[in-house]
């Protein structure tokens, strides 16, 4: 997957998400998820990504169980869980196999998204691990003053509010610092150029985009005028 251009992976993310909505057979959705896991194995990502995926699988299972408990059929419950899993898996594959700066360049140069908006998207992605780290640090600081996440769910949710406030304020401060730092380094300048070196499409990209688009079109036609697929 690393050899494909960021734009191809962005398009693939959208296409797989459409497939997840169009397919309503648990077996086919499980097949798509399996295919994505195979892609992930080929991509050779870090063990942290696999841990995250394990969490996703657990969440998908929980979602399916909840659906079933609230009156859905087993088939519908499985479809719901698998749809969520498929949509998130492809997103993770894209992020794990693409540099954030390449995604920004693809969004700006190939998708014609204004650079400010593209940067906002990628900066938000980059903030996630920082935010999790900060959340842990704030929780630790509060725990040393008697904050404890023990007790029932309501109690835990209420006590978590003490973590949220410092976390949000620190995130705001951090984003202000980051904005200033970016401006000082030329962000927003008229002469600013995004590099296209890593984002240009090649033959393999066109083949993958064409094939997956054709499959998607066939699925949409089949959905509108069922021919038994």
């Amino acid at each position: 997957m690393r050899r494909y251009a960021p734009l191809t992976k962005l398009i693939l993310t959208i296409i797989i998400s459409i497939w997840a909505i169009l397919f309503d057979s648990p077996a086919i959705l499980a097949g798509v998820a399996g295919l994505q896991l195979l892609l992930l194995a080929i991509t050779r990502v870090s063990t942290t990504v696999y841990k995250g995926i394990l969490g996703l699988v657990m969440f998908a299972l929980m979602l399916a169980v909840m659906q079933y408990l609230f009156g859905a059929t087993i088939s519908l419950a499985l479809v719901t869980g698998l749809r969520m899993l498929n949509m998130t898996l492809i997103f993770i594959i894209m992020l794990a196999s693409t540099r954030i700066s390449d995604i920004t360049a693809a969004l700006v140069k190939q998708c014609r998204i204004p650079s400010d908006y593209a940067f906002m998207f990628t900066a938000a992605l980059r903030f996630i691990p920082d935010f999790l780290e900060e959340s842990k640090a704030v929780r630790e600081a509060q725990s040393c003053r008697g904050y404890s996440s023990r007790g029932n769910a309501f109690k835990r949710m209420k006590s978590y509010l003490t973590v949220v406030e410092p976390l949000v304020l620190r995130a705001v401060t951090k984003s202000e610092t980051m904005a200033m730092s970016l401006e000082l380094r030329g962000f927003g300048s008229q002469r600013q150029q995004a590099s296209l070196a890593h984002v240009a499409l090649h033959g393999r990209d066109y083949i993958l985009i064409s094939l997956t688009t054709l499959v998607t079109l066939a699925l949409i036609i089949n959905k509108l005028q069922p021919i038994g697929f």
Binding site: A137, Q142, C144, R145, G146, T162, T173
Partner: protein
């Protein structure tokens, strides 16, 4: 009393603390020093139960802390982080200090008494209604100390509390810690500041690559032939000057006042 028995801790990528055994007696003023990444902060986090040892045992007043949360230790150990912003969550200094006692269910009378005491001890009484986030770094750090003092701890662990502060704030902070120590509070201080170490600490623990390589008095650390440069430390300026002057018959000392007296005393005598 805090006792560490053959404590080790490993992160997934490396071992941060290796086989450390030590005892911190009540009323001690101990400094933990060493290079960046030598394991100082990890060691204090183990003491506070923010991390659990991979091997070994930590006993606080005879009780194993393995199954305890930091919140369970909060009334015995006050832990002050390097960055006070992470703990500020209330709108006034007074409310901020009251947060801990409220969390731990202290009675309203005890809360009020402790908040007043903590503000007075830390020199924050006049700032009781101030917005905590608008305070200077030094005041925020004193607020962080006041916040844990309100929980009536027996011991304070401070992770580089003077970093990023000007000389006045640094001085205030260290005088506050010395006063608290004189009142019987045990202090464990992580620091890179050798002048502070020399002036205030009774005991120094040096860590190097996760190993405890020295445990003794500041004088022993600098006077003996220890490889202090290899441990990432520097001889305090006064002591360095004094050691250079020793070959001219000036008695070696770590006190600026005593050195001045040794140097200027004979001149002043002549003038008289």
């Amino acid at each position: 009393m805090l006792e560490l028995r053959q404590v080790s801790f490993a992160y997934p990528q490396f071992t941060a603390v290796r086989d450390i055994s030590l005892t911190v007696e009540p009323g001690e003023f101990t400094a933990i020093v060493g290079k960046n990444g030598s394991g100082k902060t990890t060691l204090t986090r183990l003491m506070m139960s923010l991390l659990k040892p991979s091997h070994g045992q930590i006993l606080l007043n005879g009780q194993d802390t393995k199954k305890l949360l930091p919140a369970d230790l909060a009334t015995t150990i006050g832990y002050v982080f390097q960055n006070p912003d992470r703990q500020i969550l209330r709108d006034t200094v007074e409310q901020e200090i009251a947060y801990g006692p409220q969390q731990l269910g202290f009675s309203p009378d005890r809360q009020q008494k402790n908040v007043q005491m903590a503000m007075e001890v830390c020199g924050l009484a006049e700032l009781a209604q101030a917005y905590p986030r608008s305070l200077s770094k030094g005041c925020k750090q004193r607020l962080a100390i006041a916040s844990v003092l309100a929980l009536e701890p027996q011991m304070l662990i401070l992770d580089e509390p003077t970093s990023g502060q000007d000389a006045t704030d640094k001085d205030k902070m260290m005088k506050l810690l010395a006063d608290l120590n004189n009142q019987g509070l045990t202090i464990i201080l992580v620091t890179h500041d050798m002048e502070i170490l020399m002036q205030y600490a009774q005991r120094v623990i040096v860590l190097n690559a996760g190993n405890m390589v020295f445990d003794g008095t500041p004088n022993d650390l600098f006077m003996d032939n220890n490889p202090i440069a290899a441990w990432g430390l520097q001889v305090p300026t006064i002591l360095h000057l004094s050691q250079k002057l020793a070959k001219y018959g000036i008695p070696a000392t770590n006190s600026a006042d005593r050195l001045c007296q040794s140097l200027l005393g004979p001149m002043e005598d002549k003038q008289l």
